[in-house]
Protein backbone atom coordinates (compact mmCIF):
# COMPACT_ATOMS: atom_id res chain seq x y z
CA UNK A 1 0.00 0.00 0.00
CA UNK A 2 2.85 2.34 0.94
CA UNK A 3 4.59 1.63 -2.35
CA UNK A 4 1.43 2.49 -4.32
CA UNK A 5 1.02 5.78 -2.43
CA UNK A 6 4.65 6.77 -3.05
CA UNK A 7 4.37 5.97 -6.77
CA UNK A 8 1.08 7.91 -7.10
CA UNK A 9 2.56 10.95 -5.31
CA UNK A 10 5.66 10.82 -7.53
CA UNK A 11 3.45 10.63 -10.64
CA UNK A 12 1.32 13.56 -9.45
CA UNK A 13 4.50 15.60 -8.88
CA UNK A 14 5.77 14.72 -12.36
CA UNK A 15 2.42 15.72 -13.96
CA UNK A 16 2.41 19.04 -12.05
CA UNK A 17 6.00 19.65 -13.19
CA UNK A 18 5.10 18.97 -16.83
CA UNK A 19 2.04 21.26 -16.72
CA UNK A 20 4.13 24.06 -15.15
CA UNK A 21 6.96 23.68 -17.68
CA UNK A 22 4.50 23.66 -20.61
CA UNK A 23 2.79 26.82 -19.38
CA UNK A 24 6.13 28.57 -18.98
CA UNK A 25 7.12 27.62 -22.54
CA UNK A 26 3.76 28.83 -23.89
CA UNK A 27 4.11 32.16 -22.08
CA UNK A 28 7.61 32.75 -23.47
CA UNK A 29 6.45 31.87 -27.01
CA UNK A 30 3.51 34.30 -26.75
CA UNK A 31 5.89 37.02 -25.57
CA UNK A 32 8.21 36.31 -28.48
CA UNK A 33 5.27 36.43 -30.92
CA UNK A 34 4.30 39.88 -29.60
CA UNK A 35 7.87 41.07 -30.06
CA UNK A 36 7.87 39.74 -33.63
CA UNK A 37 4.69 41.75 -34.36
CA UNK A 38 6.43 44.91 -33.10
CA UNK A 39 9.38 44.19 -35.38
CA UNK A 40 6.99 43.66 -38.32
CA UNK A 41 5.41 47.09 -37.71
CA UNK A 42 8.86 48.68 -37.54
CA UNK A 43 9.85 46.85 -40.74
CA UNK A 44 6.89 48.45 -42.57
CA UNK A 45 8.07 51.87 -41.47
CA UNK A 46 11.64 51.07 -42.51
CA UNK A 47 10.43 49.80 -45.90
CA UNK A 48 8.82 53.16 -46.56
CA UNK A 49 11.85 55.15 -45.50
CA UNK A 50 14.21 53.06 -47.61
CA UNK A 51 12.25 53.29 -50.86
CA UNK A 52 15.10 54.25 -53.17
CA UNK A 53 12.81 54.83 -56.12
CA UNK A 54 11.11 57.76 -54.36
CA UNK A 55 14.33 59.57 -53.54
CA UNK A 56 15.63 62.62 -55.41
CA UNK A 57 18.19 61.55 -57.99
CA UNK A 58 20.49 63.23 -60.47
CA UNK A 59 21.78 60.51 -62.77
CA UNK A 60 23.20 57.84 -60.48
CA UNK A 61 23.52 60.12 -57.43
CA UNK A 62 20.80 59.76 -54.79
CA UNK A 63 19.95 62.35 -52.14
CA UNK A 64 19.00 60.77 -48.84
CA UNK A 65 16.00 62.20 -46.90
CA UNK A 66 14.85 63.97 -50.10
CA UNK A 67 11.77 62.76 -51.94
CA UNK A 68 10.83 63.68 -55.49
CA UNK A 69 7.42 65.40 -55.65
CA UNK A 70 6.50 63.88 -59.03
CA UNK A 71 7.48 60.38 -57.88
CA UNK A 72 5.10 60.65 -54.89
CA UNK A 73 2.31 61.80 -57.19
CA UNK A 74 3.08 58.96 -59.62
CA UNK A 75 3.10 56.41 -56.79
CA UNK A 76 -0.18 57.78 -55.55
CA UNK A 77 -1.69 57.16 -59.01
CA UNK A 78 -0.21 53.65 -59.38
CA UNK A 79 -0.29 52.03 -55.95
CA UNK A 80 -3.84 50.66 -56.08
CA UNK A 81 -3.73 49.47 -59.69
CA UNK A 82 -4.75 45.81 -59.73
CA UNK A 83 -1.41 44.49 -61.03
CA UNK A 84 0.58 46.50 -58.46
CA UNK A 85 -1.63 46.12 -55.41
CA UNK A 86 -0.20 42.80 -54.15
CA UNK A 87 3.38 44.09 -54.33
CA UNK A 88 2.63 47.17 -52.23
CA UNK A 89 0.50 45.16 -49.81
CA UNK A 90 3.46 42.81 -49.21
CA UNK A 91 5.72 45.80 -48.72
CA UNK A 92 3.52 47.96 -46.50
CA UNK A 93 0.88 45.56 -45.13
CA UNK A 94 -1.85 47.14 -43.06
CA UNK A 95 -0.63 50.68 -42.77
CA UNK A 96 -1.20 54.26 -43.82
CA UNK A 97 1.55 56.36 -45.37
CA UNK A 98 0.90 60.04 -45.61
CA UNK A 99 3.15 62.87 -46.71
CA UNK A 100 2.41 66.36 -45.45
CA UNK A 101 4.04 69.01 -47.62
CA UNK A 102 4.37 72.36 -45.90
CA UNK A 103 4.23 74.94 -48.70
CA UNK A 104 3.13 77.92 -46.69
CA UNK A 105 3.59 78.86 -43.03
CA UNK A 106 -0.09 79.82 -42.79
CA UNK A 107 -0.98 76.27 -43.73
CA UNK A 108 -3.47 77.37 -46.37
CA UNK A 109 -1.69 75.87 -49.37
CA UNK A 110 -0.20 72.86 -47.62
CA UNK A 111 -0.65 69.58 -49.43
CA UNK A 112 -1.36 66.16 -47.95
CA UNK A 113 -0.66 63.17 -50.18
CA UNK A 114 -1.72 59.73 -48.97
CA UNK A 115 0.48 57.37 -50.93
CA UNK A 116 -0.85 54.18 -49.35
CA UNK A 117 -3.73 53.41 -47.07
CA UNK A 118 -4.99 50.06 -45.93
CA UNK A 119 -6.45 50.58 -42.51
CA UNK A 120 -7.83 47.84 -40.35
CA UNK A 121 -8.12 49.42 -36.95
CA UNK A 122 -10.46 46.81 -35.50
CA UNK A 123 -8.91 45.38 -32.33
CA UNK A 124 -5.51 46.59 -33.45
CA UNK A 125 -3.02 48.95 -31.94
CA UNK A 126 -0.87 51.17 -34.08
CA UNK A 127 2.63 52.56 -34.14
CA UNK A 128 3.06 56.01 -35.66
CA UNK A 129 6.47 57.03 -36.97
CA UNK A 130 7.01 60.59 -38.17
CA UNK A 131 10.08 61.51 -40.19
CA UNK A 132 11.03 64.98 -41.44
CA UNK A 133 11.87 64.99 -45.14
CA UNK A 134 12.62 67.37 -47.99
CA UNK A 135 10.32 67.26 -51.00
CA UNK A 136 11.83 68.53 -54.22
CA UNK A 137 9.77 69.98 -57.06
CA UNK A 138 12.50 69.91 -59.70
CA UNK A 139 10.41 71.66 -62.40
CA UNK A 140 10.01 74.83 -60.31
CA UNK A 141 13.29 74.18 -58.46
CA UNK A 142 11.67 74.43 -55.01
CA UNK A 143 12.47 72.33 -51.94
CA UNK A 144 9.59 71.98 -49.51
CA UNK A 145 9.76 70.83 -45.91
CA UNK A 146 7.55 67.84 -45.22
CA UNK A 147 6.64 65.15 -42.74
CA UNK A 148 6.26 61.51 -43.66
CA UNK A 149 3.83 59.85 -41.29
CA UNK A 150 3.72 56.06 -41.27
CA UNK A 151 0.97 54.44 -39.22
CA UNK A 152 1.56 50.69 -38.95
CA UNK A 153 -1.20 48.50 -37.48
CA UNK A 154 -0.50 45.28 -35.61
Amino acid sequence: METITVVIIVMILIVIGIVYATNQKKASLTEERERTKDIEAMTTATNVLSMDFLKCTRGSATRETCIDYYKIKALNNNVFKEENYLHFYRLFGESKIEIKIIKNITGKENENITIYSLEDTENKTSIIIKTPITIEDAVWNINYFGIMEVTAYR
Binding site: K25, I39, D52, F53, G59, S60, D68, V139
Partner: protein
Protein backbone atom coordinates in the same frame (compact mmCIF):
# COMPACT_ATOMS: atom_id res chain seq x y z
CA UNK B 1 -1.05 -23.43 1.44
CA UNK B 2 -3.65 -20.63 1.52
CA UNK B 3 -0.98 -18.08 2.59
CA UNK B 4 1.31 -19.15 -0.21
CA UNK B 5 -1.49 -18.61 -2.81
CA UNK B 6 -2.23 -15.10 -1.42
CA UNK B 7 1.49 -14.26 -1.55
CA UNK B 8 1.62 -15.47 -5.17
CA UNK B 9 -1.33 -13.19 -6.10
CA UNK B 10 0.35 -10.26 -4.32
CA UNK B 11 3.64 -10.84 -6.17
CA UNK B 12 1.80 -10.96 -9.54
CA UNK B 13 -0.12 -7.80 -8.65
CA UNK B 14 3.15 -6.02 -7.80
CA UNK B 15 4.64 -6.99 -11.17
CA UNK B 16 1.53 -5.85 -13.06
CA UNK B 17 1.58 -2.59 -11.09
CA UNK B 18 5.28 -2.06 -11.72
CA UNK B 19 4.75 -2.70 -15.45
CA UNK B 20 1.81 -0.26 -15.69
CA UNK B 21 3.55 2.44 -13.62
CA UNK B 22 6.82 1.91 -15.56
CA UNK B 23 5.01 2.19 -18.89
CA UNK B 24 3.22 5.34 -17.73
CA UNK B 25 6.47 6.96 -16.55
CA UNK B 26 8.22 5.91 -19.78
CA UNK B 27 5.34 7.36 -21.84
CA UNK B 28 5.51 10.65 -19.90
CA UNK B 29 9.26 10.96 -20.45
CA UNK B 30 8.93 10.14 -24.15
CA UNK B 31 6.28 12.87 -24.45
CA UNK B 32 8.59 15.33 -22.68
CA UNK B 33 11.45 14.49 -25.06
CA UNK B 34 9.12 14.80 -28.07
CA UNK B 35 7.73 18.15 -26.94
CA UNK B 36 11.19 19.47 -26.10
CA UNK B 37 12.53 18.47 -29.53
CA UNK B 38 9.55 20.19 -31.19
CA UNK B 39 10.08 23.30 -29.06
CA UNK B 40 13.80 23.32 -29.83
CA UNK B 41 13.15 23.06 -33.59
CA UNK B 42 10.48 25.79 -33.47
CA UNK B 43 12.77 27.99 -31.39
CA UNK B 44 15.70 27.53 -33.81
CA UNK B 45 13.39 28.24 -36.77
CA UNK B 46 12.04 31.37 -35.06
CA UNK B 47 15.56 32.49 -34.19
CA UNK B 48 16.66 31.93 -37.81
CA UNK B 49 13.71 33.95 -39.13
CA UNK B 50 14.27 36.65 -36.53
CA UNK B 51 18.00 36.86 -37.41
CA UNK B 52 17.22 37.06 -41.10
CA UNK B 53 14.49 39.70 -40.67
CA UNK B 54 16.79 41.86 -38.54
CA UNK B 55 19.57 41.41 -41.08
CA UNK B 56 17.29 42.46 -43.96
CA UNK B 57 16.07 45.53 -42.10
CA UNK B 58 19.60 46.66 -41.24
CA UNK B 59 20.95 45.96 -44.71
CA UNK B 60 18.23 48.00 -46.39
CA UNK B 61 19.69 51.00 -44.63
CA UNK B 62 23.21 50.18 -45.80
CA UNK B 63 23.16 50.02 -49.58
CA UNK B 64 26.32 48.90 -51.37
CA UNK B 65 27.81 47.34 -48.25
CA UNK B 66 29.66 44.08 -47.68
CA UNK B 67 29.98 42.42 -44.34
CA UNK B 68 31.30 39.28 -42.78
CA UNK B 69 28.53 38.29 -40.40
CA UNK B 70 28.90 36.01 -37.37
CA UNK B 71 28.89 32.26 -37.75
CA UNK B 72 25.44 30.68 -37.66
CA UNK B 73 25.22 27.21 -36.20
CA UNK B 74 22.21 26.07 -38.20
CA UNK B 75 21.85 25.31 -41.88
CA UNK B 76 19.38 27.47 -43.79
CA UNK B 77 17.79 25.97 -46.87
CA UNK B 78 16.35 28.17 -49.62
CA UNK B 79 13.65 26.76 -51.87
CA UNK B 80 11.59 27.78 -54.83
CA UNK B 81 8.45 25.78 -55.51
CA UNK B 82 4.82 26.38 -56.49
CA UNK B 83 4.28 28.24 -53.22
CA UNK B 84 7.13 30.65 -54.03
CA UNK B 85 10.51 31.54 -52.60
CA UNK B 86 11.06 30.47 -49.00
CA UNK B 87 13.73 29.58 -46.45
CA UNK B 88 13.99 27.79 -43.15
CA UNK B 89 16.21 25.50 -41.15
CA UNK B 90 16.63 22.15 -42.81
CA UNK B 91 13.64 19.89 -42.18
CA UNK B 92 11.42 22.64 -40.77
CA UNK B 93 7.76 22.22 -41.66
CA UNK B 94 6.93 25.93 -41.63
CA UNK B 95 9.42 27.77 -43.86
CA UNK B 96 9.36 31.57 -43.96
CA UNK B 97 8.15 33.08 -47.23
CA UNK B 98 10.11 35.67 -49.19
CA UNK B 99 7.29 37.18 -51.28
CA UNK B 100 9.06 40.35 -52.43
CA UNK B 101 12.58 40.31 -51.00
CA UNK B 102 15.27 40.11 -53.68
CA UNK B 103 17.71 37.67 -52.12
CA UNK B 104 20.19 35.67 -54.15
CA UNK B 105 21.76 32.79 -52.24
CA UNK B 106 22.97 29.25 -52.82
CA UNK B 107 20.51 26.51 -51.90
CA UNK B 108 22.10 26.01 -48.48
CA UNK B 109 23.77 28.62 -46.31
CA UNK B 110 25.01 28.24 -42.75
CA UNK B 111 27.03 26.23 -40.25
CA UNK B 112 29.72 28.77 -41.17
CA UNK B 113 30.34 32.51 -41.19
CA UNK B 114 27.90 34.12 -43.55
CA UNK B 115 28.74 36.94 -45.95
CA UNK B 116 26.21 39.58 -46.95
CA UNK B 117 26.61 41.92 -49.90
CA UNK B 118 24.05 44.58 -50.66
CA UNK B 119 23.69 46.34 -53.99
CA UNK B 120 20.97 48.45 -55.51
CA UNK B 121 19.15 47.03 -58.51
CA UNK B 122 19.29 49.81 -61.11
CA UNK B 123 17.40 49.75 -64.40
CA UNK B 124 19.03 52.38 -64.59
CA UNK B 125 17.12 54.13 -61.78
CA UNK B 126 17.04 52.44 -58.36
CA UNK B 127 14.39 49.73 -58.15
CA UNK B 128 15.16 47.84 -54.97
CA UNK B 129 17.94 46.62 -52.69
CA UNK B 130 19.45 43.28 -53.59
CA UNK B 131 20.89 41.03 -50.92
CA UNK B 132 23.51 38.52 -51.96
CA UNK B 133 23.79 35.99 -49.17
CA UNK B 134 26.50 33.35 -49.11
CA UNK B 135 28.94 31.80 -46.66
CA UNK B 136 32.52 30.65 -46.18
CA UNK B 137 31.48 27.11 -47.15
CA UNK B 138 30.71 28.15 -50.75
CA UNK B 139 33.62 28.51 -53.19
CA UNK B 140 33.31 30.45 -56.45
CA UNK B 141 35.76 29.32 -59.15
CA UNK B 142 36.09 31.79 -62.04
CA UNK B 143 37.68 30.53 -65.24
CA UNK B 144 39.89 32.93 -67.20
CA UNK B 145 38.99 33.57 -70.84
CA UNK B 146 40.19 35.73 -73.73
CA UNK B 147 37.21 38.09 -73.43
CA UNK B 148 37.77 38.45 -69.65
CA UNK B 149 34.04 38.08 -68.97
CA UNK B 150 34.43 35.78 -65.96
CA UNK B 151 37.55 37.68 -64.87
CA UNK B 152 35.59 40.96 -64.74
CA UNK B 153 33.03 39.37 -62.45
CA UNK B 154 35.87 37.87 -60.34
CA UNK B 155 37.14 41.44 -59.84
CA UNK B 156 33.65 42.63 -58.88
CA UNK B 157 33.31 39.95 -56.21
CA UNK B 158 34.44 41.22 -52.78
CA UNK B 159 37.40 39.64 -50.99
CA UNK B 160 35.08 38.48 -48.18
CA UNK B 161 33.54 35.86 -50.48
CA UNK B 162 35.68 32.73 -51.05
CA UNK B 163 36.76 32.92 -54.69
CA UNK B 164 39.55 31.81 -56.97
CA UNK B 165 40.61 32.63 -60.53
CA UNK B 166 42.06 29.83 -62.62
CA UNK B 167 42.08 28.47 -66.14
CA UNK B 168 39.98 25.65 -67.56
CA UNK B 169 43.11 23.49 -67.86
CA UNK B 170 44.15 24.10 -64.25
CA UNK B 171 40.66 23.22 -63.03
CA UNK B 172 41.77 19.57 -63.11
CA UNK B 173 44.41 20.35 -60.49
CA UNK B 174 42.00 22.23 -58.22
CA UNK B 175 42.22 20.87 -54.70
CA UNK B 176 38.95 20.66 -52.89
CA UNK B 177 39.39 22.45 -49.56
CA UNK B 178 36.30 20.84 -48.09
CA UNK B 179 33.73 23.48 -49.08
CA UNK B 180 30.08 22.44 -49.02
CA UNK B 181 29.21 24.11 -52.36
CA UNK B 182 31.38 24.80 -55.40
CA UNK B 183 30.17 27.12 -58.18
CA UNK B 184 32.11 27.36 -61.46
CA UNK B 185 31.77 30.49 -63.62
CA UNK B 186 32.98 30.62 -67.22
CA UNK B 187 32.59 32.53 -70.46
CA UNK B 188 30.09 30.91 -72.85
CA UNK B 189 32.81 30.45 -75.48
CA UNK B 190 35.30 28.83 -73.08
CA UNK B 191 35.41 25.04 -73.40
CA UNK B 192 35.69 22.88 -70.34
CA UNK B 193 35.81 19.13 -69.95
CA UNK B 194 32.74 18.26 -67.88
CA UNK B 195 33.86 14.62 -67.48
CA UNK B 196 37.05 15.79 -65.78
CA UNK B 197 35.03 17.99 -63.43
CA UNK B 198 32.81 15.03 -62.60
CA UNK B 199 35.88 12.87 -61.95
CA UNK B 200 37.88 15.43 -59.97
CA UNK B 201 35.20 17.17 -57.93
CA UNK B 202 32.48 15.84 -55.68
CA UNK B 203 29.30 16.14 -57.79
CA UNK B 204 27.21 16.53 -54.64
CA UNK B 205 28.91 19.90 -54.16
CA UNK B 206 28.59 21.14 -57.71
CA UNK B 207 25.40 20.84 -59.74
CA UNK B 208 25.68 23.54 -62.41
CA UNK B 209 28.24 25.64 -64.28
CA UNK B 210 27.29 29.29 -64.74
CA UNK B 211 28.14 30.47 -68.23
CA UNK B 212 28.11 34.17 -69.17
CA UNK B 213 28.65 35.86 -72.53
CA UNK B 214 29.64 39.42 -73.43
CA UNK B 215 25.97 40.48 -73.74
CA UNK B 216 25.31 39.47 -70.12
CA UNK B 217 23.31 36.43 -71.19
CA UNK B 218 23.46 33.71 -68.55
CA UNK B 219 23.30 29.97 -69.05
CA UNK B 220 23.17 27.29 -66.33
CA UNK B 221 24.64 23.98 -67.52
CA UNK B 222 23.75 20.84 -65.58
CA UNK B 223 26.94 18.95 -64.73
CA UNK B 224 25.20 15.56 -64.85
CA UNK B 225 23.57 16.21 -68.21
CA UNK B 226 25.36 18.94 -70.15
CA UNK B 227 22.57 19.05 -72.76
CA UNK B 228 20.26 20.33 -70.03
CA UNK B 229 20.69 24.11 -70.13
CA UNK B 230 18.64 26.95 -68.72
CA UNK B 231 19.08 30.29 -70.49
CA UNK B 232 18.39 33.79 -69.27
CA UNK B 233 18.48 36.65 -71.79
CA UNK B 234 20.55 39.80 -71.51
CA UNK B 235 20.53 40.97 -67.86
CA UNK B 236 21.91 43.89 -65.90
CA UNK B 237 25.18 43.47 -63.98
CA UNK B 238 23.47 43.09 -60.59
CA UNK B 239 21.30 40.25 -61.89
CA UNK B 240 24.29 38.43 -63.44
CA UNK B 241 26.01 38.59 -60.03
CA UNK B 242 22.80 37.10 -58.60
CA UNK B 243 23.05 34.19 -61.06
CA UNK B 244 26.65 33.54 -59.97
CA UNK B 245 25.83 33.73 -56.25
CA UNK B 246 22.96 31.20 -56.48
CA UNK B 247 24.61 28.80 -58.95
CA UNK B 248 21.15 27.27 -59.20
CA UNK B 249 18.75 27.99 -62.12
CA UNK B 250 15.59 27.30 -60.15
CA UNK B 251 16.45 29.62 -57.24
CA UNK B 252 17.79 32.27 -59.62
CA UNK B 253 14.61 32.20 -61.70
CA UNK B 254 12.52 32.68 -58.54
CA UNK B 255 14.37 35.84 -57.47
CA UNK B 256 14.76 37.10 -61.05
CA UNK B 257 10.99 37.01 -61.51
CA UNK B 258 10.55 39.14 -58.38
CA UNK B 259 13.23 41.57 -59.61
CA UNK B 260 11.58 41.85 -63.04
CA UNK B 261 8.17 42.32 -61.47
CA UNK B 262 9.50 45.18 -59.33
CA UNK B 263 11.30 46.63 -62.36
CA UNK B 264 7.95 46.69 -64.17
CA UNK B 265 6.21 48.40 -61.24
CA UNK B 266 8.91 51.07 -60.80
CA UNK B 267 9.17 51.59 -64.57
CA UNK B 268 5.40 52.21 -64.76
CA UNK B 269 5.90 54.71 -61.94
CA UNK B 270 8.69 56.45 -63.86
CA UNK B 271 6.47 56.54 -66.94
CA UNK B 272 3.72 58.16 -64.88
CA UNK B 273 6.27 60.69 -63.55
CA UNK B 274 7.39 61.50 -67.12
CA UNK B 275 3.73 62.18 -68.03
CA UNK B 276 3.41 64.46 -64.98
CA UNK B 277 6.59 66.32 -66.01
CA UNK B 278 5.13 66.68 -69.49
CA UNK B 279 2.03 68.34 -68.02
CA UNK B 280 4.04 70.49 -65.55
CA UNK B 281 6.33 71.88 -68.26
CA UNK B 282 3.38 72.88 -70.50
CA UNK B 283 4.73 74.71 -73.54
CA UNK B 284 8.32 74.92 -72.25
CA UNK B 285 10.88 73.56 -74.78
CA UNK B 286 11.98 70.97 -72.20
CA UNK B 287 8.68 69.28 -72.91
CA UNK B 288 10.14 67.44 -75.91
CA UNK B 289 12.11 65.19 -73.53
CA UNK B 290 8.91 63.93 -71.93
CA UNK B 291 6.97 63.48 -75.18
CA UNK B 292 5.13 60.29 -76.06
CA UNK B 293 8.11 59.11 -78.17
CA UNK B 294 10.38 59.17 -75.12
CA UNK B 295 7.62 57.78 -72.90
CA UNK B 296 7.76 54.72 -75.18
CA UNK B 297 11.28 53.84 -73.93
CA UNK B 298 9.76 53.28 -70.48
CA UNK B 299 6.86 51.38 -72.00
CA UNK B 300 9.29 49.06 -73.85
CA UNK B 301 11.20 48.26 -70.65
CA UNK B 302 7.95 47.72 -68.75
CA UNK B 303 6.71 45.30 -71.43
CA UNK B 304 10.04 43.43 -71.51
CA UNK B 305 10.01 43.05 -67.70
CA UNK B 306 6.36 41.95 -67.74
CA UNK B 307 7.04 39.31 -70.41
CA UNK B 308 10.32 38.18 -68.76
CA UNK B 309 12.29 39.20 -71.86
CA UNK B 310 15.84 40.65 -72.04
CA UNK B 311 15.93 44.11 -70.45
CA UNK B 312 19.53 45.24 -70.88
CA UNK B 313 19.00 47.08 -74.22
CA UNK B 314 15.97 49.02 -72.92
CA UNK B 315 17.86 49.97 -69.75
CA UNK B 316 20.65 51.40 -71.92
CA UNK B 317 18.09 53.36 -74.03
CA UNK B 318 16.69 55.05 -70.91
CA UNK B 319 20.19 55.77 -69.62
CA UNK B 320 21.22 57.36 -72.94
CA UNK B 321 18.09 59.55 -72.99
CA UNK B 322 18.73 60.66 -69.40
CA UNK B 323 22.39 61.45 -70.19
CA UNK B 324 21.17 63.73 -73.02
CA UNK B 325 18.77 65.53 -70.64
CA UNK B 326 21.51 65.93 -68.00
CA UNK B 327 23.43 68.12 -70.49
CA UNK B 328 20.48 70.59 -70.47
CA UNK B 329 18.70 72.50 -67.71
CA UNK B 330 15.65 70.24 -67.90
CA UNK B 331 14.67 67.78 -65.18
CA UNK B 332 16.14 64.30 -65.79
CA UNK B 333 13.73 61.43 -66.37
CA UNK B 334 15.16 59.64 -63.31
Amino acid sequence: MKTSKKAQVEISFNWVFVLIAGAAILFIFLRIIGTETEFAQTATQRRAIHDMTSLLTVLQQNPDSISNEKRINYLLEFNCNTEGHSYGIQGATNPARLPHQIIFSPKTVGEARIVTWVKTLRTPYPVSSILYLTDHETMYIFLKDAGQTAENYYDLFPEEIPKTLTTANNLNDYEDEGHRNIIIIKNTDANINYNLIKNNLDTRKITHVVSINNNNEVKFINIQNTNEEKNFGSLTEELVIGAIITGNPNLFNCTLNKALDQTRIITDLMLERTKLLNTAYGSNPCNTYYSSINQKTFQDLSNAARNKQPIYGHVQDIKNLNDRILRTNCVPIY
